[in-house]
């Protein structure tokens, strides 16, 4: 199914993927009593966070992410993947690492878990990173900068 006016959008796959992400976060919340915030859990796994989450649990969650993606990769017989150049990936990775630690969360922790809890700080954090994301892409486009190969 396509969306009128947006021939490239994949609304049904997006919605299905989103429901799975919500289910995953719900399992973490109701099953283990924890927030499924990827930046915090990844930091905890490598020992860069003092969170009370056991490190074995952090590793279990982080390991699951590529396993799940791999299952979909096999089921679909391939997935599109257009990545930026190594230099841009390094710059972006550094900024994402610094920003998510200072901001106490990313798209999953603030965007999915926090906004659904109607947490004021998560809603403001999400609006903030969406706006700077919009502006960043707009500026790069305006400068004629092709980020992706």
């Amino acid at each position: 199914m396509t969306l009128p006016g947006f021939p490239d959008a994949a609304p049904l796959a997006g919605l299905a993927g989103g429901v799975l992400i919500g289910l995953a976060a719900a399992i973490m919340l109701l099953g283990a009593g924890r927030i499924a915030g990827v930046s915090g859990i990844a930091a905890r796994a490598v020992g860069l966070s003092e969170s009370s989450l056991p490190r074995i649990s952090a590793w279990a969650f982080v390991t699951g992410l590529p396993i799940g993606a791999f299952i979909v990769l096999l089921a679909m017989g391939g997935l599109p993947a257009n990545f930026a150049s190594p230099v841009l990936l390094i710059i972006a990775g550094l900024i994402v690492g610094i920003g998510t630690r200072l901001g106490s969360g990313c798209t999953s922790g603030h965007g999915v878990c926090g906004m659904s809890r109607f947490s004021q700080r998560s809603i403001i954090a999400t609006l903030t990173f969406m706006v700077t994301g919009f502006v960043t892409v707009a500026l790069m486009n305006a400068m004629g900068f092709e980020a992706l190969r």
Binding site: A9, I90, A138
Partner: protein
Amino acid sequence: MIGRILIPVLSGTIFGAGLALGGMTDPARVRGFLDLFGDWDPTLAFVMGGAVLVMVVAWRIQPRLARPFFGEGFTLPGTSDLTPKLIGGSALFGIGWGIAGLCPGPGIAALVIEPASAAIFVVAMLCGMLAVRIIEGAV
């Protein structure tokens, strides 16, 4: 054992599958969403909407439970403190997200889809986290 390992690995696996199915492991898809003033791709809004809808229900169930199904208690962040650090950090995160079209979850999940590129991003991200750790430890 169930709460410490099986629940997190199950959650992570379903999370990763959702990211891949929703197209979030393709940076072009994510940057398409962030290209609001250009050739906008609303797919990410459907991903976020679906995830938030399910979690709204989960947050309605959570207060009715004395404790999680496989754990001793809920460990949840406070919801009040709105600091310049939170806003500044989030603003920075959005810039990095926009540059490469990757946030932490899809970066890690994509390790099996485009291993070399994803690994560069993830290692750089961990270096960024380490930098914050070092600076905060020194202050």
